[in-house]
């Protein structure tokens, strides 16, 4: 199933694939690269590769040339994103910057902010992180307490953020702070662009369930942020944060569907190559049914995504429906990973480095990493509140109404 592509788009895909085959980093083709390893090294590979994409005209394709883009079409951007997701074996570090920061700036930022930041995002010079969650503001994000006090031409920021993915590698941070503690919790927030090299910023990696440190806690001690790094108006940051989160949900899916397809293909291979009771497990009716159901769900998700993209292609803004996709892919990935664990039996627990581990421990790693999918970017429960309240119009509960 493919979105109906016109011949120009098909030619564009072919041209990009051709370019990609000649420019994929050599390091990236090794089996080792399939497993998350040294994050700093990966980030450097990403920066160099992103620069090549930028120079070849494959970055920010649908954005204006004024901001370093190509003034191409959204469809071309979708094509490149899909193909990178399928063919680039390393981690891309642009999920936040290209997926969230740039679209938010384009819709809400000042002219200066767009010109300063978007070209550097596209060229790989700047990697961004997202300073939203705090120790006491998770699902209740608007309860955050990191403060920014305006003194002359700058804000002075104090507080702590947590669960900040790639915070240790990032050059800049989108930071939601409280600028007015005297009004209702959604009303006193502002949205800042913070240089991670500013004095007073301390980043501490947090080791996570997989054993590696992808996310961090960030401390802000009297960090000065110039006034022109405010996005939108002061105290209107909640609206901007919501915009960011809706982009995150829709844009992420473009690269997630090809990844899930690869996982399903690997799962079918795994089931074909594993024997139990003297036959390949692919012959076992229980697993045939389970895997066929996963395929059903993936095809449905792909079609959901096409519908969302069709909306974007018509120039409409993403709405709360993005929450459907977030719940769908995160739970589907968990089900795929869990099925792989069942199929491997005792081998499921072996990690990278064991000669007995299937796929050098990639299944085990991905299984653990998948637990984060229903938490990061808004938990499943929060997505269901959004659908219930903003799509179906059900009332808020009394606690959150006040």
């Amino acid at each position: 199933m493919n979105l109906t592509m016109n011949p120009d788009d098909q030619a564009y895909r072919a041209k990009f694939l051709n370019w990609l085959s000649e420019n994929i980093p050599a390091e990236g083709t090794s089996a080792e690269a399939k497993i998350s390893g040294d994050w700093c090294a990966q980030a450097e590979i990403f920066r160099k590769f992103q620069r090549k994409l930028f120079d070849a005209g494959y970055a920010g394709i649908h954005w204006s040339k004024e901001y370093g883009g190509q003034s191409g079409t959204l469809m071309q951007h979708i094509i490149v994103t899909e193909e990178l997701s399928t063919n680039y074996p390393w981690k891309m570090f642009d999920g936040l910057s290209v997926g969230l920061v740039a679209p938010t700036l384009l819709s809400r930022g000042t002219e200066e902010q767009k010109k300063e930041f978007i070209p550097k995002i596209l060229s790989g010079e700047h990697i961004w992180c997202q300073g939203f969650s705090e120790p006491n503001a998770g699902s209740d994000l608007a309860n955050l307490s990191t403060s920014a006090v305006r003194i002359g031409e700058r804000y002075v920021v104090n507080g702590q953020k947590v669960w900040t993915s790639i915070g240790h590698l990032a050059d800049f941070c989108i930071l939601v702070v409280r600028t007015d503690p005297t009004v209702g919790k959604h009303k006193g927030l502002s949205y800042l662009l913070v240089d991670m090299k500013s004095p007073g910023v301390t980043v501490r990696p947090i080791k996570q369930i997989t054993g590696e440190a992808e996310y961090n806690e960030i401390f802000f001690d009297d960090v000065e942020v110039p006034f022109d790094r405010l996005v939108g108006k002061e105290n209107e940051g909640w609206l901007i944060a919501i915009t960011t989160l809706m982009f995150e949900r829709i844009m992420n899916e473009i690269s997630i569907v090809p990844k899930l397809q690869q996982t399903l293909d690997r799962l079918i291979d795994l089931t074909s190559n594993t024997t139990r009771y003297g036959q390949a497990m692919i012959k076992d009716p229980v697993y045939r049914q389970k895997i066929a159901l996963l395929q059903v769900e993936l095809e449905v998700m792909r079609l959901n995504q096409y519908r969302n993209l069709a909306t974007l292609l018509k120039g409409e803004m993403p709405g709360p429906e993005g929450s459907i996709g977030k719940i769908f892919w995160s739970e589907l990935n968990q089900r795929m990973q869990e099925t792989a664990m069942e199929i491997m039996g005792p081998y499921s627990q072996l990690l990278k480095g064991s000669k007995y581990a299937e796929d050098n421990g990639k299944w085990a790693f991905d299984f653990l990493r998948a637990r984060g999918n229903t938490i990061e970017g808004g938990t499943t429960e929060i997505q269901k509140n959004i659908i219930g309240e903003r799509v179906l119009g059900l009332p808020k509960d009394t606690v959150r109404r006040n």
């Binding site: 199933m1 979105l3 109906t4 079918i268 074909s272 692919i282 009716p285 045939r288 049914q289 895997i291 066929a292 159901l293 395929q295 059903v296 769900e297 095809e299 449905v300 998700m301 079609l303 959901n304 096409y306 519908r307 069709a310 429906e321 459907i324 719940i327 769908f328 429960e381 997505q383 269901k384 509140n385 659908i387 219930g388 309240e389 799509v391 179906l392 119009g393 059900l394 009332p395 808020k396 509960d397 009394t398």
Partner: protein, 381 residues
């Protein structure tokens, strides 16, 4: 494939919703439950007047020559009102089978009568011990000159009680591959030796029957298409039937979600609308996720019938599996949200719940369709 509707399609959908809401009220649907025919000729004539009977029948046979996607819009609306009567049997099952298998003369004869509302028809496939594939077609025939004598029984035949024509899948040859040697007999239910029994099923909106053949005699001219070549046309019909059913189930799921949401907004317990509590809100959100996802696959599948025939059988199995599961779960969740009233005969939710169960068990259940999908990717390996 574009998920948005053309202005003509919008009009078709809106007028269908209006007509069905006005005419197929809860009272009327319940009245038809009590009617052994499941329909009234006056209403059938009105529907024929709208052109719906011949929607996908080519213009040369008196139809409108529209696409399956267009028909799907109407089936979707019919699902919203759990429409009773033989529309699906006539317009999806019999029509698609005649379109695919019929000779020129048969098409001219039957399709014109269907399009004008003068013929109610259905298809009889399954037998005792329900096998979903060709191996389940066992009803025997004995050839005597130009005639065939049929012996055996068909089960779960929709709307046979009201049909003027029953197309019956019969094994006319043994000792061949299961898909070969199957012929489609054009049976007049009044024929001697044909007995029809209405089955006391849960969903009386879609009547199911047992049709027995006690050495009933038919001439070889009463065979649709060629003798022994019926199965591939049945396969084509089943693919379309599963897609049509998916659209009907989508409409039903969409409606039960509306029932749940409306009730959750007005029902006060512990001083608050129950929809403010996450236990209820999250149930509704999960339903919306599944209903919207069902919309994606069901509408895509309807489009593939004319738009991408290579994908159609896969899309049909995916749609039947996903949407069937959605409908049954959504109806059950809504019943739960409604509480005591949901368990009553008075509230309409049981009509939907029963239709969901009946639909999931038609034209191949979930296990069957998942196995079809599994054998597809296994062949690819």
């Amino acid at each position: 494939m574009d998920f948005t509707l053309t202005s003509e399609q919008e009009m078709l959908k809106n007028s269908a919703r209006k007509f069905l809401n006005n005419n197929f009220t809860s009272d009327y649907v319940r009245k038809m439950w009590e009617n052994s025919q499941g329909y009234e000729p006056e209403m059938w004539a009105q529907i024929a007047e709208l052109g719906w009977m011949g929607l996908t029948i080519p213009e040369e046979y008196g139809g409108l020559g529209l696409t399956f996607r267009d028909l799907g819009l109407i089936l979707h609306e019919m699902g919203r009102v759990v429409m009773p009567g033989p529309f699906f049997s006539t317009v999806v099952l019999a029509t698609e089978l005649i379109k695919t298998a019929g000779s020129e003369e048969q098409k001219a004869n039957y399709l014109e009568r269907i399009a004008s509302g003068k013929l109610i028809a259905t298809v009889a496939l399954y037998e005792e011990g329900v096998e979903w594939g060709a191996e389940g077609i066992k009803l025997t025939s004995t050839r005597k000159g130009d005639n065939y004598s049929l012996l055996g029984k068909k089960l779960f035949v929709p709307d046979a009680y009201s049909a003027d024509l029953i197309i019956v899948a019969v094994r006319t040859e043994n000792q061949v591959e299961a898909g070969e040697g199957i012929s489609l007999f054009l049976v007049d239910p009044q024929t001697e030796g044909v007995e029809i029994e209405l089955l006391p099923t849960m969903d009386q909106g879609r009547k199911l029957c047992a049709v027995s053949f006690l050495n009933a005699i038919f001439s070889s001219t009463e065979v649709l298409g060629e003798v022994g070549k019926g199965w591939s046309a049945i396969e084509t019909m089943l693919i379309r039937a599963n897609i049509g059913l998916s659209l009907e189930m989508l409409g039903g799921g969409e409606k039960v979600l509306e029932i749940a949401t409306e009730y959750a907004k007005i029902r006060i317990q512990f001083g608050q609308p129950i929809g403010s509590y996450q236990a209820i809100k999250h149930k509704c959100a999960e339903m919306l996720l599944q209903v919207e996802s069902s919309r994606s696959i069901a509408e895509y599948a309807a489009w593939t019938v004319d738009g991408n025939p290579q994908e159609v059988s896969k899309a049909a199995s995916i749609a039947k599996t996903y949407v069937g599961n959605m409908y049954r779960k959504a109806a059950a969740a809504t019943l739960q949200i409604l509480g005591g009233i949901g368990f009553s005969w008075e509230h309409d939710i049981h009509l939907y719940y029963k239709r969901a169960l009946a639909s999931e068990a038609m034209f191949g259940d979930t296990v069957f369709h998942l196995e079809l999908l599994a054998s597809r990717w296994e062949r690819k390996l």
